[in-house]
């Protein structure tokens, strides 16, 4: 009869992952360039690819079509009332761009680009952001060397950053309370209040609604 035992020893569940298995899925890139495959990205090749596969959503110059994300511009806006956060204005590392395009773009066909294509289009998006010049060649080595404009402006979470107290009485001067109401017409409707020009509560219903109007 087998009793209970405590499992200090490995449980022996799962198998050893082979190098080959790992290689296919190990797609991540780090700021120091770790993870980058071989390749040479050029602005020229990147431009062609970008215009074919990216521009419909992100705009010819990275300015964004409709509500799709803006990729370029916005430098110097981070303190504005409405900042424009882009690769060039906000991102701290160029490696993130290669990594993200490789894992997720183009949106409708993730993982459809070759490593070389990702080099090309990454180079081009950097170029659109005026981070590299027209003749720049993006490689394993050159990518890790790129200094992004906003790189020094990230710092580790310092929270808790505010200190409220558990005041129970006379915690504020009732006469000085400023009360601001809600923006009208932007809360999705169709379920609890009748709303005239407010959006519906799903993308489909909203498109339907707009077609009808």
């Amino acid at each position: 009869i087998m009793g209970a035992f405590s499992h200090a020893e490995p449980l022996g569940l799962g198998e050893t992952a082979t190098e080959e298995q790992i290689a296919g899925w190990d797609i991540d890139i780090r700021p120091d360039g770790k993870g980058l495959p071989e390749g040479r990205g050029t602005i020229e090749a990147g431009e062609a690819l970008y215009e074919e596969r990216c521009a419909t959503c992100h705009g010819l110059f990275g300015e964004g079509e409709g509500r799709w994300p803006v990729l370029a511009g916005g430098q110097g806006t981070l303190k504005d009332e409405r900042p424009t956060k882009t690769v060039g204005s906000y991102w701290p590392y160029a490696s993130t761009l290669y990594d993200y395009i490789r894992r997720a773009m183009p949106f409708t066909a993730p993982r459809s680009l070759s490593d070389q294509q990702v080099y090309d289009v990454t180079a081009y998006v950097l170029y659109l952001n005026e981070i590299v010049e027209e003749d720049f060649v993006l490689t394993k080595e050159s990518l890790a060397g790129i200094e992004m404009p906003n790189k020094d402006n990230f710092f580790v979470d310092p929270r808790p950053d505010v200190k409220n107290t558990r005041c129970m009485d006379k915690c504020a001067d009732p006469k000085k309370l400023m009360i601001a109401g809600t923006l009208k017409g932007i809360t999705p409707v169709g379920h609890f209040v009748e709303g005239a020009d407010a959006p519906a509560a799903s993308h489909d219903a909203q498109m339907e609604k707009e077609r009808e109007e």
Binding site: G14, A17, Q21, K85, D157, R159, H191
Partner: protein, 400 residues
Amino acid sequence: ATTFAGRSISAEINPANLPPNEPAWGKQLGHGVVEQPYGLPSTFEKQVVRRTVPWLTADSIASISMTPLQDLKGIITPNGLVFERYHGGVPQINPDEHRLILHGLVERPLIFTMEDLMRFPSVSEIKFIECPANGGMEWKGAQMEALQFTHGMLSCCEWTGVPLRVLLEEAGVKPEGKWILAEGADGAHMSRSIPLEKALEDTLVVYAQNGEMLRPEQGYPLRLLNPGWEGNTSIKWLRRLEVGDQPWYHREETSKYTDLMPDGRARKFTFVQETNSVITSPCPEKPLVKPGFVEIEGLAWSGRGKIKHVDISFDGGVSWVPAKLKGLVLDKALTRFSLVTKWTGQPWLLQSRSVDETGYVQPTLSQLREVRGGNSIYHKNSIHTWKVAPTGEVTNVQIT
């Protein structure tokens, strides 16, 4: 039939179904067992659904939907109503073909089938998950006339899985190992860097929610769960964990999920969901309908542990009364609070304020804005105000 408080009020209640009469359903048989082998809510509950704010995102595939907190009771969110957030749509994964690879700075890189993972000793824990953008539409002003939209990026389930620590022990983390990259199998291949410290503390690799296998929208067949941390770190459709000596600075921890401050600098790795609370009854969707006895109810939660107190103000924060914590008060779980009172038509500026076991007190909006400005998007956990009109109508206002 008009609509009110989320339910259509049939102008016509059929008196034939009221006492002294025998209602229609008492004079006939209903359907039999296993007519629905997997059951569904009553057709009279059609309005209790997830909803989205279409203008928030370019399309519905990289988007978010919210939990109807206004209709929920207790602390468990039923699986069908858990909020959705993803960046490449919901993949349809064959669990027999799903694999988790654990590699990097480990002694033995491992690959697991779902069967392997489910053979590990399991743990089940009730924890909330909250999107750090919850309430984020309201940094600059009140925008949403509904609890579902102001606070609905929030759910709480009983999750079952394996402590990540156990898997890491199985693989043997090398001394240089300090961070873990978690990555999804979906089209977005969502990735986040998790400090090893958290992984060893309480991160779970989860395959079930509320007793059954994960729902597709919540990562079926496998997800990460970082209790108390921003939901985005709890990678869904989890397929890969790589141990490294530094963080990866991927898109979801640089371009997104960093908090921009007024000075143009930004906070990174803002993991914890600090304590927050909201009154769920009354709320815009559930106005006060009659004078008389009323139970003010709400939810409080903290990513740093248990809820210790919740106070309620009727006058916009001038004076406060302690509420009662109802039912289970669990670590990093939704906690329900309650205060019974009477309403005779007087106007209210209703607020709730939670305190967690670390002593941290939920801040005012002014306090948060003072430090963080209006562009940090995430982690807006300030005291929320509902204005109750003499008619009972409830609207969303901001007090500064």
